[in-house]
Every structure is written in C-alpha cells, then in structure tokens.
Symmetry: C2
Subunit: 242 residues, 2 copies
C-alpha cells in the first residue's frame, strides 16, 4: 500500500496550514495554469485522484460537472472533505491508488493534483485511468517536476554572491526519494519527464499539453520570495486525451 | 543569420576530431536510441537539417531512402560531405535554417541531430518542416537537453566526497547562452523541454516519442568517464508525426 503520510498527525497538521489547504484552489499558485488545461466540464463525469479536502470536486460541480468522484487514501482528509460538502453528486471514496479499480468508459475528465509522484506502480494506475475515460476524454495532472524530485538530497545551493542554483544529480536513477517535508521520511517517486510522457503515449493517450510550471513575474511581484522557483520549475503539468 | 561557428577554423578543427566526426554515426553514443525512433526509410524522401559531413544522409540511402537532401550552413562541412559522397540521389545544399524554405508535402522523414539548439526562430523552422512533411511523415530530432543548456554558467559541481551534480539555474529564462565549446563564444539557444513539445503540438504534430538520453550502463562499462552523464541527461530526443 502507498505510504499514507497524510494521516500522520504531524504531516496533517502542517498540510492543513498550507495556503492551498486554507484558501483552496486559489491558494495554489499553479492553479490558473492547470485550470486553463481543463475541458468544459458541463455534464461530465469527473474523477479526482488524490482529492484531499475536496476543493476541486466542489469547484468541478460549480462548473457544471454532472457527477464527481473524489478518491483519496487519507481518512482525515476525506472526513474534512465530507464535512464541508453538501452535494449528492459528489462522492468521496477511500482507496489506495496502487490498487484502484475503475469502471470502464466512464469519465469525461480524470484530474490529479500533486498526487501521482507518491505512486510506485504508476503504469498500472494510468492503464486503469485510460480504460476509465470515455473516448475523447481528458487527463489533466500535475506532479512535482523531475528536476525537483531527482536529487538524492534535494535543496538549493548558493554561491558567494547569493546566486541560487538547484544541483541536479541521479536524474536517470528513477525510484523512491525520502524527503523531510512537513514530516520526516516522506517517500516520493522520482521519474524522468520522458518516463511520464512515454507511459501515456504507450497507453494510447495523445499528449495535448505539457507545462513546466513556475510562478509568473506577476505572481513574484506579489510574493517576492517565490523568485527562486524560476531557476528550476517545481511542477510539471500534463494534459492528454484518450 | 545563424552564427556559423562550424566555419570558424578553431571550431572546425576541434569538431573534426570528435568521435562522431571520425567514426560517423557509430561514434555518437546516442545514435542507437535515435535510430530506434526512425521509420522504415524504404522509398522515402529524407531531409537532414544540419547534415554536417553527410554521415546520416549516406546511411539513409543505404537503408533504402529514395532521395536525401542534406542542409547545412557550413561551407567547410558541406565540402567534406560532397568529397566523401558518390550518390546522385543525395543532394547537399547550403542554407541558413533561420531562413529556410522547403517544398510542401515532400518528405517522409525530417531528421536533425544536435542542430536545432543553435536556431533562434525555431517556431518558423518547425512550421516550415511541418508543411514540408507528407501526411503521416515523421520528425526525429535530437537537441542538447534543457537541463544541460539552462545554466548561465554551465558546468559540474563536486562536493568534498567527489560526488558530482549539475547546478541548474535560469531554467525559465529562455534565450541565448554563450559557451566555450571547441571555440570561444559559441551561441546556443536554451528552451524549456515543454517549449519544444508545446511548439510541436501547436503546429499540429502528434508526439510519438520523447527520450531523455544518457549513456546506458553497458556504454559506461566501456567508457567509465561517461558515468557522470547519468546525473543529468545531456540530450533530448523527440519523435513526432504529421
């Protein structure tokens, strides 16, 4: 089973204080870029893999989605999602994405925000996702960028003049990385960027969008300490169609 | 016009001594990966952008290509290509790829090895390439990898234990980079990986393959000093179809 770090008390407490947890989608700086990749949701059945507190599920319904299924491994996150949702067309279900089975030909959109880099057997899950989409259906996902996940010990380096760089190593060495983000020993899976794309192509997807996201100059004007993120992209966004 | 660094005496002398210049395709360690992305060449018209000494043009004919057009900006390289080619179905032509005009609907394959990262207006060239392909025709290219081209001052960093990393900065800052490779002040264009892919998708291409190439373990066993290249990929290979 996937490491269920979100139900760790320390992690959950820290995660619950992030802007994206408190403010929802508008607290996530990559949201405008991800939103721009979404199809018209009117009448679609939508699946959210790693739905967390349910912010996207509720937003999808506001955009006209017919039904929304939110999947997460965290009981604590699902409890809060249920407590803040009054909508019979939204269903939250607890499942391990390593084992998930989905109905065939069902969804018009499968969405996932910053969850898939926790999955070890991503091939299996993506094959299941492909099968679960209607023909022409969309996949829109974000993951931590491979440049971000590659290093054996990730972190910034500064030269004498204070100029920052992100030392990359082990990029070709795919597999688990242990990081101390909100809690000790959080396990993420490093994959090469090409591995994500080749996997989708091999499964039959047509790639429609690839974005190496970093804050815009406008966002940096409001949040100056985000400027370093333009040295290397923190997130990878991918759009594809069945 | 593109910087014509290949006709610089110092650069040309150095380039002529590289294994890929002396041994041809088999002297280029990424060649097996690139070759695996090529379609069956029998009966195809083939275009090679940045043909250099003509190694690929001659190989394409051996594989059954009907006609091959090799384009390069370097007079010196074309002179050597012509001097080592006896084949009326191969044509070498001097052209600036920034200004190149191609016949519409002509080629079954457009190939380019490590040349496109010298091109400033790549959108224009790729639109021309798309137009020049027959429907279903293939594009197979290699460029220096964006992780490799990004840094303002590219180079390895070593820690006290001798562990190497490749400090990345300026990844989001696309544009020219000046390097001292074989000669001083060689100008390359840094683009994000997503920029290459989005350009092709926008022009109408369907992406069929993306490879972040680094030497295989088998190649490193023969050439141990290549091991560092697995810390970050030196080349990006892209396959697409019109």
């Amino acid at each position: 089973m996937t490491q269920n770090i979100y139900d760790n008390d320390e992690f959950f407490a820290g995660y619950g204080q992030l802007p994206r947890s408190v403010e929802g989608l508008d607290g996530a700086p990559e949201w405008p870029a991800l939103r721009a990749m979404l199809p018209d949701l009117h009448g679609l059945k939508v699946l959210d893999l790693g739905c967390g507190f349910g912010w996207f599920c509720r937003w999808a319904r506001e955009q006209g989605a017919a039904q929304v299924l939110g999947i997460d491994v965290s009981e604590k996150m699902l409890a809060r999602a249920r407590a803040t949702t009054e909508d019979g067309a939204i269903t939250y279900a607890r499942a391990d994405m390593e084992q998930l089975e989905l109905p065939a030909g069902s969804f018009g959109l499968v969405y996932s925000s910053l969850a898939l880099h926790y999955i070890a057997n991503l091939d299996r899950l993506m094959a299941e996702v492909y099968r679960s989409l209607v023909p022409g259906g969309s996949l829109v996902v974000s993951v931590e960028h491979p440049i971000f996940t590659a290093p054996a010990r990730a972190g910034w380096s500064s030269d004498a003049a204070g100029h920052k760089s992100w030392p990359v190593d082990s990029y070709l060495d795919e597999g688990p990385r242990s990081t101390d983000w909100l809690a000790k020993g959080v396990i993420k899976q490093h994959r090469m960027l090409a591995t994500y794309l080749k996997m989708l192509i091999r499964l039959g997807f047509t790639l429609s969008h690839v974005e190496e996201w970093a804050p815009t100059e406008e966002q940096i004007a409001v949040h100056p300490r985000w400027a370093d993120e333009r040295q290397r992209p923190p997130f990878l966004l991918i759009g594809a169609r069945r």
